[in-house]
């Protein structure tokens, strides 16, 4: 078994990190795990930016509609990237899990 106990622990990043546990388990390796946690933290920041920008637009406080669109689009693409990577990692984990012994 390559993964030790410490590497399985995922520091909690509020919000959208429910997939982090599975992804990190599948990926193994502390480098990958901490990278993933970092990226998820950044993802959350991007999502918050998008939410704030949309709210400002909805309440008529945004003066720059392009910035709002950019923030939302960036959040959408980041989420897409994260979820694709997560799915791939879970898939790999399942492949290992279903190995015939």
């Amino acid at each position: 078994m390559l993964t030790s106990g410490a590497e399985w622990g995922v520091p909690s990043v509020d919000g959208a990190t429910s997939g982090a546990g599975a992804a990190q388990q599948a990926g193994g390796g502390s480098g990958f795990g901490s990278m993933l946690t970092d990226q998820l933290g950044k993802l959350e920041g991007v999502q918050n930016d998008a939410a704030k920008a949309s709210q400002a637009l909805a309440t008529g406080q945004a003066s720059d509609p392009e910035a709002v669109v950019m923030a939302v689009e960036r959040a959408r693409l980041s989420m897409q990237l994260a979820s694709t990577l997560r799915n791939k990692a879970v898939e790999a984990f399942n492949d290992v899990f279903h190995t015939q012994v």
Binding site: A67, M70, E73, R74, L77, Q80, T84, N87, K88
Partner: protein
């Protein structure tokens, strides 16, 4: 180059083109204004000056380096067009001079309309660039599926 640099560049261009449209609209709106807001004669045509954003781009830098430092476009400023004003004979006008001539703004409606078309097309081009960057990114992600 970061993941979203193409977006940032296109996004800054979108803002810049919108400003150009705003300024053109202002020019068109004031095409007949014989009194400027600052009280000095008739309205003067405004023009947007754009410059490449980012710093540290020396002339010796390679194109790749300058691209790395580039962050799209930024507005250098809004300047006043210094071409001479139009003179129109209209003795009944309250702003007419002793000889009956009124100094009208140096706004040419036709020029403004072509500027408007230019800004609109440039905006469109940048939206297309953004869409292409987006679809390239999505296509890359599709590789993992």
């Amino acid at each position: 180059m970061g993941l979203f640099d193409a977006f940032d560049a296109s996004g800054s261009a979108l803002s810049a083109e919108r400003l150009r449209m705003d300024v053109t609209a202002e020019n068109l709106a004031n095409a007949q204004s014989t009194r400027a807001a600052n009280g000095t004669g008739p309205y003067r045509r405004k023009e947007v000056v754009l410059e490449q954003a980012g710093s540290g781009v020396g002339s010796s830098a390679s194109f790749a380096d300058s691209l790395q430092a580039a962050r799209g476009v930024k507005v250098a400023g809004i300047v006043e067009d210094q071409t001479p004003m139009r003179k129109v004979y209209d003795p009944g006008h309250p702003d007419a001079d002793a000889k009956g001539y009124v100094t009208m703004p140096n706004v040419n409606t036709v020029t403004e309309m072509t500027d408007l078309i230019g800004a609109s097309r440039a905006y469109e081009a940048n939206v297309t660039a953004m869409q292409t960057a987006k679809s390239m990114f999505t296509r890359t992600l599709d590789l993992l599926k």
